[in-house]
Subunit: 368 residues, 4 copies
Amino acid sequence: MTLSPVSLKALDAPGQPTPSPELDELYRGFERELLVPLWTEIGDLMPTSPRPAAVAHRWRWSELVELAERAGELVPVGRGGERRAIALANPGLGGAPFATPTLWAAIQYLNPREDAPVHRHTQHAFRFVVEGEGVWTVVDGDPVAMRRGDFLLTPGWRFHGHHNQSDTPMAWLDGLDIPFVHATGSAFFELGPDAVEDRSTPVRSRAERLWAHPGLRPVSQPSPAPSSPIAAYRWEHTDAALADQLALEDEGHPGVIEPGHAAVRFTNPTTGGDVMPTIRAEMHRLRAGVRTASRREVGSAVWQVFDGEGVARVAEREWPVGRGDLVVVPSWVPLTFTAGAGLDLFRFSDTPIFERLHADRVEVEQGP
Amino acid sequence: MTLSPVSLKALDAPGQPTPSPELDELYRGFERELLVPLWTEIGDLMPTSPRPAAVAHRWRWSELVELAERAGELVPVGRGGERRAIALANPGLGGAPFATPTLWAAIQYLNPREDAPVHRHTQHAFRFVVEGEGVWTVVDGDPVAMRRGDFLLTPGWRFHGHHNQSDTPMAWLDGLDIPFVHATGSAFFELGPDAVEDRSTPVRSRAERLWAHPGLRPVSQPSPAPSSPIAAYRWEHTDAALADQLALEDEGHPGVIEPGHAAVRFTNPTTGGDVMPTIRAEMHRLRAGVRTASRREVGSAVWQVFDGEGVARVAEREWPVGRGDLVVVPSWVPLTFTAGAGLDLFRFSDTPIFERLHADRVEVEQGP
Amino acid sequence: MTLSPVSLKALDAPGQPTPSPELDELYRGFERELLVPLWTEIGDLMPTSPRPAAVAHRWRWSELVELAERAGELVPVGRGGERRAIALANPGLGGAPFATPTLWAAIQYLNPREDAPVHRHTQHAFRFVVEGEGVWTVVDGDPVAMRRGDFLLTPGWRFHGHHNQSDTPMAWLDGLDIPFVHATGSAFFELGPDAVEDRSTPVRSRAERLWAHPGLRPVSQPSPAPSSPIAAYRWEHTDAALADQLALEDEGHPGVIEPGHAAVRFTNPTTGGDVMPTIRAEMHRLRAGVRTASRREVGSAVWQVFDGEGVARVAEREWPVGRGDLVVVPSWVPLTFTAGAGLDLFRFSDTPIFERLHADRVEVEQGP
Amino acid sequence: MTLSPVSLKALDAPGQPTPSPELDELYRGFERELLVPLWTEIGDLMPTSPRPAAVAHRWRWSELVELAERAGELVPVGRGGERRAIALANPGLGGAPFATPTLWAAIQYLNPREDAPVHRHTQHAFRFVVEGEGVWTVVDGDPVAMRRGDFLLTPGWRFHGHHNQSDTPMAWLDGLDIPFVHATGSAFFELGPDAVEDRSTPVRSRAERLWAHPGLRPVSQPSPAPSSPIAAYRWEHTDAALADQLALEDEGHPGVIEPGHAAVRFTNPTTGGDVMPTIRAEMHRLRAGVRTASRREVGSAVWQVFDGEGVARVAEREWPVGRGDLVVVPSWVPLTFTAGAGLDLFRFSDTPIFERLHADRVEVEQGP
């Protein structure tokens, strides 16, 4: 946030002191002593409801892919740059590569037979695969295959690198809490080996073999963990869970969150809570023609269309969306989606931050 | 517990007062006023380590089944008696139908086309199926198929009835916390309809369709629940999880709890903790010839052989065990199992009680 | 619990099988194999609401003191007997020294200049002082003065001994979870030195100096602890808190739990919860003439009159009570107190066990 | 954060692509599509350890008071401006009135007989009084006296106004999480009455009468609350707790956090945790001549000298400090204080945010 100098904007705001040379001198005294009065700033700092600097916006996946492909030709992946990732820069956030004040969203792109070097950082990360396959991300030595529809975790402070084992390039969505960690000053980073060490290409990661059995956990690992130990949430399970909810609705039973709208949350099986301390991730499915209730909540979110097409409406803006397209939703801005012939949506948000700090609020309004 | 009259046993215990007519009179005064001194009872009440009244014991499944079949001929299932269940009565517990001071374990038996009427109670219950199929247990209106290897939940205060849809009888293991609830005075009970209302026979229950997807939960049900919402933990998942652990061991990776010994715990996906507040349940698999470390812990357990054969050693007692056989392990008594040509074991225990009260202790000793 | 043999009581209960020689033989088979059917016992085991074996009862403090004084003459305090404590034996519990199925309540008595030797045990203990002073209890080396109105803790597994530094005997109430620990098999015990090592007699314990400042905790000890680190809750604070609630009521503000009825709970300042994992302790104050609402809850409690006089009504029983008198209230039995010219009541209960296991229930009925 | 345009800084950073017209065009494509590459920004976004924009700084209380007095003459307190509060503006944060990226610290000043109007907001607030008295802050209708040494709470969403009942002006320190709430978009605000309704001037607030008794809580309010219900932590208690720790140290017992350094944390008695979800507050006392270990931690803090004098060293900067002086400590910057003839320090920080998100880290280095 960059606030304007006090003397310019304070003059005629409500509840302000009468301008005078003495007041001017006082304000110059504040500046000299590195002070700013509340009374001139309170409108910005304490609005009636959240007035986020970030704005709603849509990015077309096709544009992202095109630029990523071009970067694949011009930009190497290696030590120093670390990743060929290109981030959404919210137009309200002054050019910073931040989708929202807390969330990072980027397309990452890896050429055939290419490696992204190993490192670790306190920022929590995930990948979501809207199309393609052939890359393995190796997390603390455990190779994790990436395939369309999969949601993959790299919780904070785990070493990880990627390598493309196939003859085609692959692109995917990266989500992290980089802006939040940057703003609060909690970033640590450490280099690992230049290339991943285990180049095997198993269908399932070891983490999945230990943890991705429904309702079961290894007795050898009984404690709650801050982040989920499940490295990959496979599309086949997500798809089945969504289909089950809609089938239950057809049979007259509860499960969906509103008519025609199924949704599952990816969770940490050691706690039942969110996958990582700062990030919530969900998959939503709308039946053909369904329009979701208008909903706003404290905190920001990024949505990506996984399949189908429809229309996103965020506050007064409206965008048609199709496969891969991304929509950024700032805090407390109402959102609805309307499905065309069906719509599958991936969503991630910073909600766990607010829930853990007892600052969460939600408002849902039924449409006409 | 029935303590002997003070005057008989106090005479020569350590730290006791010198016998005298005055002391006798004092002790009679205690009895008159409904008082008992600590100094005569402290050895029983405050032993150096737990000295449970319950004893270790093995029950043969074949004997249980034979008596249950006979009961199937002579004893109807209906209102009043409610269930054709026959419970283990620990020989140390004075004839009460208690496997341990906290746990109930029974064989339940249902004839072809027979119904067990609907009721609910605060006692938490589960079923484990060592053989057979054809019965559906209907929990709060949700029909849940029972098949070999399945672990099925009826958490406290849910209406439930059973019906056998097949032409063969079916028997299974019931586990509950009846003794604990009885001892602490927290039992409530309510009758439901005489017969289950939904006689459909789906392969999967609605609860599974909502909840038994690995790492996923319905967004419509975001809160933690005291008991697991998964009505049935299917054998195919349990089996796969155990097999995965042993395969990981073969490949040199962690997962098993000790060499050749895989184990998974059934959990509440809304918390990552135990399935029900008072009961822990697990499945164990031993490779051929493996002998587990000797282990004792505060709290009691019941084990049932699901497959294979081996030897159970509890303190100084040793029993050969095969499919369906049950072994009861009192608090703080050391236990080892030795597998023949492989051994699959179901276990349930009262451990959550002690963990929640910070009274849990475990001691593991490696064998020679 | 001692259940009667099956064959005697099963005959004409509802839902029982028709008597026959075959049934008799079946029942004998059960006995032989250490089995008991549910259908004959379900009425006892699964009542509509709790039917505790323990009964309501009142003990007169004057009777307890008289017998304790006599024991002071005849019974030494030393190794083996450990404590001159005389416990309430609930008439419904077969002569065991158990006030309720979970709680122990005893008068403990120490002669002038007498020591009770040091030991520790997993049972949680407290003292409540209805009259007198002059004894220090030394808990893990920290001397804690005992004075009228004080509530003093000895959480599980802390070494403790007592010594009377005065020229008069002292008696107080001991409360423990001995019956619960006994029933569940979780008792450990260890001897310490024969006499307390630190015979200093500070007015405040070190624990109080660190922890008994309102809303403050030492930064050096930031973690939650299972039991409260406050060794002594002093009467001056308890009295002030109760007086404040009644004064707030006079001024028209909330605070009391019902008209004329103030109550404070002793808490663990590291969690805000109960002082120990199995025991809740509270102090209640009734204005003159006040009658409390009839209240029953799952779990049992013991009340001791600290000051004043009144009438206790438990289910259909009614007792006049005065200073020091004890009333035992079994699970789910309705209780009211009616104050004479004011009534101060100490209460302890096993409620934390039920709350932690999600088995707590309360029912309050307003009087006519 | 304002990042520079990509093309300017990326050219010679490590791991960057070779400059070329094609690369230039790619970068212009990124700008056009509102995208920013990671590889040019990673040094800023993912440093080896936190590199906060905020810098360490000291403000002199005397300067703050002088300007506040002048504001007292020129600036009215009323609707619109709401408060005569003047905030520290960290020189690293571009002129915004933020002491750190998460914390607000301001001097607030009220003239004799003056009122600050009633409002509420989701931001959590406290007051700390370094000198003076005579103001009551009325929180949800409960008048709370403010006196030297007191720490007073206004948790989020409670209506509050202040009024000066005395004939002298009063100034104090306000602490809030305004910058954090601003950055994350979670601010709500609501006006209340123009003047406080209850103008009574009790010595203790109703909140204290209910909650500020050590280890006691009203039975009528049994649930954990996100923020502390104690409206005022009085200096007499804080002072006594600090004195007790140093006396225990003199006697050879634990309690202080390091030699000669006592410290207490203000806590929420319903949880034992921090007073509010985003703010930790503590009071520290150093004996004469004591130098604290160098300590750095994730998250930022503000310290205010309450009494005495000494030297603050933050990273390479060193400032003498005396009564009322404020020192701001950014994330992961090492800090030591050295006491002159004794030093009492108030501290508040954003640590709860990091602890709840599992992002806390601390490093302590003993001095030479």
